[in-house]
């Protein structure tokens, strides 16, 4: 048995992308870390009372205030003179980051605390039964944005959280994906080496809410990146410093493996709209891989 800082025995679903991403983050951060968790899947499955899967000090308060509680933890560590040797990580899901906890997160970023905020983006409120959140992508079928005769799912595009975080003028903003676990670890280590507020958003496939086969977790994560719907980018001091170049696969390859986009496969008009979102991302961040033969 491995001595991971997030132990086995947690109650995540079979094939959960979030549990592997959370393990990548905490193992990269090391044992000198205090974790503050928002309410969400991660909090529920990792700490089913009276047991905890965490091997580090871990605090849960409310749905919205991991960023605020982490600010207090950081201030306390500074008072004790221990901040230099202890990392503080605040983490939550997409709902508690982009909707409910946005004010606490914004306050943390603005006050300049030395904290890494990690958002595990599974693109809906999965814990309570797949309701749409601010980070749910366009045309997704969820229980509160159902598809049917007059609707093709979620009517709004995804909230640009990395850009919102970056607009606070913080030193490091990055996106990662559970499809690329080593990339998550590299970005966490890089973020923790920088002083000041950091924001990391990790795309985590959810077999239950996205309705794909549990063994496709990694594959689905990679496809989202490869087709341009989830660009892996890094901002350092406000400037785009690195992107992951992609071969720009058609978005159908990503959509067809997931039940939440099943209604789109008979609707080419809507697929064109999603392809337009991917093309916009590819253009905006310069994701396209330059082939040698072409240039």
């Amino acid at each position: 048995m491995n001595n991971n800082l997030l132990s086995a025995g947690h109650t995540a679903c079979s094939g959960c992308g979030q549990s592997l991403a959370a393990r990548m983050v905490i193992d990269a951060a090391g044992k000198n870390t205090v974790v503050v968790n928002n309410t969400g899947c991660l909090e529920v499955f990792s700490t089913a009372y009276p047991e905890s899967a965490w091997g580090v000090p871990w605090v849960h308060s409310l749905f919205e205030n991991a960023a605020a509680v982490a600010s207090g933890v950081e201030a306390g560590l500074i008072y004790l003179g221990k901040k230099d040797s202890i990392n503080v990580i605040a983490q939550g899901g997409d709902g508690s980051t982009a909707d409910i906890g946005l004010q606490a997160l914004s306050g943390m970023l603005e006050r300049g605390h030395d904290i890494l905020y990690v958002c595990y983006d599974n693109e809906a409120y999965m814990n309570t039964g797949v309701q749409r959140s601010g980070l749910t992508p366009f045309d997704t079928n969820t229980t509160t944005s159902p598809s049917g005769k007059k609707s093709s799912g979620n009517i709004r595009p995804k909230k640009p959280m990395p850009e919102i975080a970056n607009a606070h003028g913080i030193p490091y903003v990055a996106t990662a994906s559970a499809g690329y676990p080593q990339d998550i670890q590299r970005k966490v280590k890089k973020a923790l080496s920088i002083k000041g507020p950091k924001y990391l958003q990790i795309h985590v496939p959810c077999p239950l809410g996205w309705r794909h086969e549990p063994n496709l977790t990694i594959e689905v994560g990679k496809l989202a990146v490869e087709c341009g719907l989830y660009p892996l980018i890094e901002y350092e001091s406000g400037k785009l410093s690195a992107v992951r170049k992609i071969s720009a696969k058609p978005v159908e390859e990503y959509l067809k493996v997931q039940g939440r986009f099943k209604h789109l496969l008979s609707n080419p008009e809507e697929i064109k709209k999603i392809q337009a979102i991917a093309d916009y991302n590819i253009e905006k961040y310069g994701l396209k891989l330059q082939t040698e033969a072409g240039s």
Partner: protein
């Protein structure tokens, strides 16, 4: 202090989630393994252990049988087989 406290780290190990597994389980063939560690890295339970080529194996007490290890293995050295089948 307020609220419920859990003092023992990693106490979730008491919870043997292997009982969740239905129908299929992984089988590590240990023949063509190149030691890339991808299975160990991506197991959502973190229940795969090993050191070096052809040593990796899963812990049946915790494996939920999702099959991500079999899907990611570059040498197809991990199979998903019926629960009752013998190694």
């Amino acid at each position: 202090m307020y609220g419920p406290l859990i003092v023992k780290p990693g106490s979730s190990k008491k919870n043997k989630t292997g009982s969740w597994r239905v129908e299929i389980r992984p089988q590590f063939l240990k023949k063509n393994c190149i030691g890339c560690k991808m299975c160990l890295l991506i197991c959502p339970e973190g229940c795969i252990s090993g050191e070096g080529k052809n040593t990796y194996d899963f812990d049946p007490m915790y494996c939920k049988g999702c099959g991500t290890c079999a899907a990611i293995c570059p040498k197809k050295d991990i199979l998903m087989i019926k629960e009752e089948a013998k190694d």
